[in-house]
Amino acid sequence: MQKAVPFTGQQRADHLLIAEMVAPGSRVLDVGCGDGALLQLLAETKGVDGRGVELSREKVNLCVKRGLSVIQGDADRDLADYPDRAFDYAVLSLTIQATRDPKTVLANLLRIGERAIVSFPNFGHWLIRAQLLFTGRMPMTPNLPEPWYTTADAHLCTIKDFVDLVALVDAEVEEAVAFNAKGQRLPIRRSLSLQNLLGEKAVFKLKRRA
C-alpha cells in the first residue's frame, strides 16, 4: 500500500490554536482547507471526522490523494448546500478576508456548525497602522505580502471590526485568542484595544445566540 502523502512543514500557529478549541472525536468542516494541513492535524491529534472545501483544484487533489475528504468549492457559493447543524465545528482559517461576502459566509458557518471557528489576519496590528501612517501606501507585511493589486484579500478587517460583525450575525464570542508574529498568544479579554494593536492574527470561537 502506498502511504498517504505526509504533511511536511511547520504547523501554523492558528492551526494549533484551532486544534485546542476542538473537542475530540467531533465533526469538523474546514472551509478553505488549503493543502489539508489543519484537517490532518485535527484527525491525528483529535480523532476528528473532518471534511474540507477548497477553491484551488490543485490543493483539492493533493488533499484527496492524502485521504482527506475534500471537495472543490467556494465559501461564497457552496456553503448554502449544507444542512443546518451538520457539523460540530465549521472552521474558516485565514480565509474570511478573501471571501466576497464575509457576513453571509460567517452566518452560514454558524448555521452549518454548532460552533464556528474563524482565524484572520488583524489589519489593526501596529506594524500595518505604522506603514500606512508613515509611508502613505497600502501596507505590505510578512503576514500580508501581496501588493494591493494582486492580493485576494478584498475584505481585511481589524479585531474590533470582527467583533462588530459577530454581533451583527447574532452570534457571541466563546473564546478569542490574538497572537503575535512568533505565534505567542495574547489573552484578548484583558483589553480589546491592546490586542487589536499587538495581535498579528486572531482566532475566534463563536456560537449562535440562543
Binding site: 502506498q2 488533499c63 492524502r66 485521504g67 475528504s69 471537495i71 472543490q72 448546500d81 451538520a86
Partner: protein, 407 residues
Amino acid sequence: MGTFSASSEGLDRNGEPKNEPWLSEVSRPSSAIVTFPEAAPLKLESGQLLAPLSIAYQTYGTLNSAKSNAILICHALTGDQHVANAHPITGKPGWWETLVGPGKPIDTDRFFVICSNILGGCMGSTGPASLNPKTGKPYGLDFPVITIGDMVDAQVRLIDHLGIDQLFSVVGGSMGGMQVLEWVARQRARVATAIPIAAAPWHSAQNIAFHEVGRQAVMADPDWRGGNYYEFGVVPKNGLAVARMAAHITYLSEKALQGKFGRNLQDRAARSFSFDADFKIESYLRYQGSTFVDRFDANSYLYITRAMDYFDLENAHGGKLANAFVGSETQFCVVSFTSDWLYPTRDSKAIVKALNAVAANVSFVEIESDKGHDAFLLEEPEFHATVRGFLSAAAAKRGLHLAGRAS
C-alpha cells in the same frame, strides 16, 4: 444458461456457419458464470420478470477471510467484464488495465476485484441475444427494456452469490458511474466507499439525442430485421458501426480531435475527389466502427443506451436528488474531467451538492485533461493518484489488511 447455438441457427446468407466473434461469448463466455433459475426471477423496474438470469463475471486478487476487501467495478456502455485481462475477442489489454492490477491504484494484491457483464450485455450475461425460454429463440426485441437500477439488482444477485455482505468499494466511469450511484441509493449499507467517475445523476437531453441517433442508425440497417437478425444469420453491422462512429466523437474533445487528426489526409498526398476516407479522422472513425461490430451485439447497444436514457436519480427520488443519499454512510470520491462535455463537471457537481445537502462524506476532484470523456479510460496520472490515495486512506481507516491475512 439458455442461449442459442451459433452452429445450429447462426447461419450466414450462404448457409455457412457464421462467425460473429461476439456470438460465442453470448452462449459460452470466457468468464465465470452464475445462473439464477426460473424459480428466482429478477423483478425489473418495468414490472416484468426476467428468468433465467445469467451473469458472467471476472475476478482478480483474493477475497480475504472477513470478505471485507471486495471492490466491484461497473463497466460503461460498450465495456465488459474483462477489465484487467486480455479481451477474449480482440486480444487487446483489459479496458482498465492502467488502473486495475497488481500494484495499480486498484491494487489486486490488496483487493478482490469483481467485474460482471451488465444485464442486457452480450458477453455472457442475459441480454437480447440470449435464448428466450418461451420461444427457444433469441429474445431480440422480446427482451424487456431494462434500467440502470435493474443492472444493479442483477449485480446484487452476484454479490449475494459470492457471499459478500459489504463491498469495500463500488467503482465505475460513465454508465458505470450511474451504476455506482444506483448501488448507493439501493444498497447503502452494502457500499463502504463509492467512486463515480465522469458520471451524472441523470441523462441530459443532449445525451438522449446522441443515443437516439445511434439507435436509429442500427434500426435503419436492413439487416436489423426488426431486431430478429439472429434468425436470418445476418448482423446490422453498418448501422451499428455508424452508431459507434457518432458516439465515439462524443467521447473525445474538440481539442483532442484537432490535435490528433487535424485536417491531415490518410495515406495520400492529395484529396481524392471521392467519398473515400480522405481524412485521417474519417479513417479513424471507420476503423472504430468496424472493430466494434466484431465484439458487440447491435440489440445490446439499443437496450443499454435506452437504460441510460431512462436514468434519472432525481426523478426517482421525489424530484430531490439528495433524497437518494439520505442517511448514507458511504464515503464518496466523485471525479470529473475538465474537457468532458458529455458528462461535464457540472453534472458531477450536482451529485456533490446533493451529497453535501445530507452531510455525506464526499471528496470531489476535477481532473485537468484535454482528452474529453474518454479520459477516464486513459493514463491520467492525477486521476490515478486520486483513486490510489482515496482507496488507500479508506482501507487504512477500516483496518483493511492484505488479502489472505487476518482482517
